[in-house]
Amino acid sequence: MNRIRILLAALTVVGVPMLAHAAGTMEGGARQATNWSAISMFIVFVCMTLGITYWAAKQTKSAAQFYSAGGGITGFQNGIAIAGDYMSAASFLGISGLVYMSGYDGLIYSVGFLVGWPVVTFLIAEPLRNLGKYTFADVASFRLGQTEIRILAACGSLVTVAFYLIAQMVGAGKLIQILFGLDYWMAVVIVGVLMIVYVTFGGMLATTWVQIIKAVLLLSGATFMALAVLWQFGFSLEALFSKAVEVHPKHLAIMQPGTLVSNPISAISLGMALIFGTAGLPHILMRFFTVSDAKAARKSVFVATGLIGYFYILTFIIGFGAITLVATNPDFLDAAVVAIKGPIAAIKGGSNMAAIHLANAVGGNLFLGFISAVAFATILAVVSGLALAGASAISHDLYAIVIRRGRADEQQEMRVSKVATICLGVLAILLGIVFENQNVAFMVGLAFCIAASCNFPVLLLSMFWKGLTTRGAMIGGLLGLVSAVAMVVVSPAVWEQTLGNPKGSAPFPYENPALFSMTIAFVGIWIFSILDGSARAKVDRGGFDAQFVRCQTGIGASGASAH
């Protein structure tokens, strides 16, 4: 009944943007003007999600419900939520913008983000569900020293979450400034506060539904845009591409690889960060505990892979649509720049705005408002997932098991989790403001790299290699974490662009160090494990067989309902 009431309430609010739309058109089309149709549609989204949070809060009584929605999410729902967690505003606006700027190169980039999913399905998803309860540290520390591995996994999680979160907050602030005409700090505060509310009150259940709604909205909006573009060209791809080649200053070069992958080593290293990082992102791994069993876990990755792949195909069409419909329309271009640099570079607000302007071109001001609101919602959903993963690492891994040695009661643990969420939210707001004028583009790559070099090796080997010991995992994992961060600091993106050293002076030549830091982690774990003759090592190796049986069969796996 409750759900129906919330839906009805939401439906009545949907009428509001129609009125605000009229106000929006009177405001005029200046980019900095407050965009009322976008804001009112965003308010509708917020009201809906707050309604869901209220509903979720009433069901969220136990720790199992808080961390994993009691394992009661279906495989299909979880698949949509995973896609929602993964399709960030950065990938929607960034990749369509990249396609708009350089055509084919955008496709190469999106492919890298997709191929991690098969690897997650084949190697990670089911063992993870069979062995874990709330966090991936449950799995990594299953037979190893609880204290050491929990600390390592929590560090890996928190560092990954921190960099990902900063990148999202800064991106959110900048984007919302352009889309809504709000001040940067206001945007960052709104995102931070809503994130805190969703997670502290609604836990995993609310976070999941925020992801699902956002994924459905984003996919519907992107589908509509792609269809509208194709419709303009009589559903002929040939016609669309011909027009794009004619309009774009690079002409035929947009139909083939350009400069994005100029150095194969660099490309392979980035590819490894994207593939294995996906399998080590704490907020993604956590989603596998929300379903009832391994079968549902595998179904959810199947759904997620399909949706994410479909989404990247849409962004490709959207990017080409922007070339043909945005770069040819003086309304979206800066006339002074067109004369010097041509139409593509002259896009108002930069290439990230390609999809936004295209929304205006194909659907008018109302659809522009819708897509802007969806972009805002997208950021909110992604940061909520991150905050929950970070808070769980603090409350479940560090507080309940390391500090209280597993003797904390559920209510205490949940209280710590909520306090941790509030602290993370406040910290995210502060860091978002501090990093406003910094180049944070490298941070998402760094987050993936740390996940691939610390979380992933420890997790994978703990599940599949009998010889892994606590000491090996600890030292190797730390080496991976430290080397990843160190190499990023001395890479061109940070050394030259952020720290301002002269061009060409960066000691590490490649964009992403995953190829090297992952090797260091795996070799480190291997060497320090085989050399480990301690008493603890005997326990670690002795525990493997029983763990492996549970990993393969799910016997003893934590069940679907609260305990």
Binding site: Y104, L107, I108, S110, V111, G112, L114, V115, W117, P118, V119, T121, F122, L123, E126, L237, E238, F241, S242, V245, L252, M255, Q256, P257, G258, V261, S262, N263, P264, A267, I268, G271, I275, K295, R298, K299, V301, F302, T305, G306, G309, Y312, I313, D545, A546, F548, V549, Q552, T553, G554, I555, G556
Partner: protein
């Protein structure tokens, strides 16, 4: 949860079959995924012009179907795994649990 004897499970023929079949299938599919993706990346790195070959007389290049293939292959490989797991592995797991129930 019924108390299960881990040794009994490990000795169970169906359990051994399950572990062998699933591991080799999972690692094989992972390898295929990596070969397809890194093959694509190496092609871009070392022979970008190949992907720029036009299809017939159109502006479309063979890079487009190849890129699309990489995306679709990810989904299809996951689908193949899920199908195999649902049709074979789940049944084996059920049998193992039945046969070794203490």
């Amino acid at each position: 949860m019924a108390a299960q004897d881990y040794d009994a499970i490990q000795r169970n023929a169906k359990y051994q079959k399950l572990v062998r079949a699933r591991s080799s299938f999972g690692w094989t599919l992972s390898a295929i995924t990596l070969v397809i993706y890194f093959g694509f990346i190496l092609l871009i790195g070392y022979a970008p012009k190949v992907l720029g070959i036009p299809i017939g007389g159109s502006v479309m290049t063979i890079g487009l179907p190849i890129g699309l293939f990489v995306i679709v292959s990810a989904f299809v490989l996951v689908g193949i795994y899920v199908y195999r797991a649902n049709s074979t592995y789940d049944g084996l797991i059920r049998d193992v649990i039945e046969e070794t129930r203490a």
